[in-house]
């Protein structure tokens, strides 16, 4: 597999599109930032680092790395939304956070 050159390194950003009754007080427009190897970058993230949301994003990070190594855009064009593991107040849980994934060049 090809390894991305330094200038082509990208980050994966999950921006909060919607948050409701979140016990970790995650708010709309906050974000989680990851490197292409799947590592969370706390210093670049603005949302509270809730594992219930982060763990949901993990499979997408595996996909992103695979795609970059094949020379493709990091994220597929299929639905870019992911929601947290809490099932929400109407389905036996409490809160619900939804993020939208996108990529950007490393800042």
């Amino acid at each position: 597999m090809k390894k991305p050159s330094e200038e082509n390194r990208v980050e994966i950003v999950a921006t909060v599109e919607h948050a409701r009754h979140c016990a970790n007080f995650i708010k709309k427009n906050e974000s989680f930032v990851f490197d292409i190897d799947g590592k969370l970058l706390p210093e670049k993230s603005s949302a509270n680092l809730c594992l219930g949301m982060l763990a949901r994003i993990q499979p997408a990070l595996m996909i992103a790395k695979e795609r970059v190594q094949e020379g493709l855009d990091p994220l597929p064009v299929t639905v870019p939304y992911l929601d947290c593991f809490d099932t929400g107040i109407d389905f036996g849980g409490m809160g619900k956070v939804t993020v939208k994934l996108h990529s950007r060049k490393v800042r």
């Binding site: 970790n24 190897d37 509270n48 680092l49 982060l54 107040i89 036996g92 409490m94």
Partner: protein, 183 residues
């Protein structure tokens, strides 16, 4: 959720708080989580059980304790995870980067979420919130060593202030509950 099924019992009765409106939690929780009266009234039996953990192991238990995932194996890991690094979470499963020195690899940390599913359940029973069975987790990447070489963590509970590791099955403040159950 179909409200008609709220009293459905599967293997045990979950709605033993049916007539308990959790009065001491209503105001602070509604304020914190933006819950209107109707929202609070339709909390599921499962969430009410979750919230009742405060009565068992202390009003501030979510802040009094921390879950630590300490790396015990790093062979084959290319992400920079090293033995001895620690990820520290509060009891709401929020990573505390200020107390953590781990390389925050999501392939290793994601499986740790299971600890917190168990922790709320155990708290509602008055037990040490961290399981004494499912304490080891490993990286989700299999690689070509057929899963022999992986980063792994061991998970434990500690006091958030003193960092004392807490291994008792029943927390000190709840030992009377344990005595009642064993009599």
């Amino acid at each position: 959720m179909n409200k008609n099924n709220s009293e459905t019992t599967y293997h045990f009765k979950t709605d033993y708080l049916k007539d308990d409106e959790l009065p001491e939690l209503r105001e602070p929780l509604s304020k914190a989580l933006d819950l209107k009266e109707d929202d609070f009234n339709r909390l599921s039996p499962e969430v009410k059980n979750l919230l009742s953990g405060r009565r068992r192991i202390g009003v501030n238990w979510l802040d009094d304790y921390e879950v630590v995932a300490e790396v015990i194996s790093d062979k084959g890991c290319a992400c920079g995870v090293k033995i001895g690094q620690k990820a520290v979470f509060d009891m709401r499963h929020r990573l505390k980067p200020e107390h953590s020195d781990i390389v925050c690899c999501m392939h290793l940390l994601s499986p740790v979420l299971a600890v917190f599913y168990m922790s709320f359940d155990r708290a509602s029973e008055g037990l040490n919130p961290v399981t004494r069975i499912w304490t080891h987790y490993e990286c989700l990447q299999t690689n070509d060593a057929l899963a022999r070489n992986k980063a792994r963590v061991r998970v434990f509970l500690r006091d958030a202030k003193t960092h004392e590791i807490i291994t008792k099955a029943v927390l000190d403040k709840n030992e009377h509950l344990f005595d009642e159950k064993t009599q």
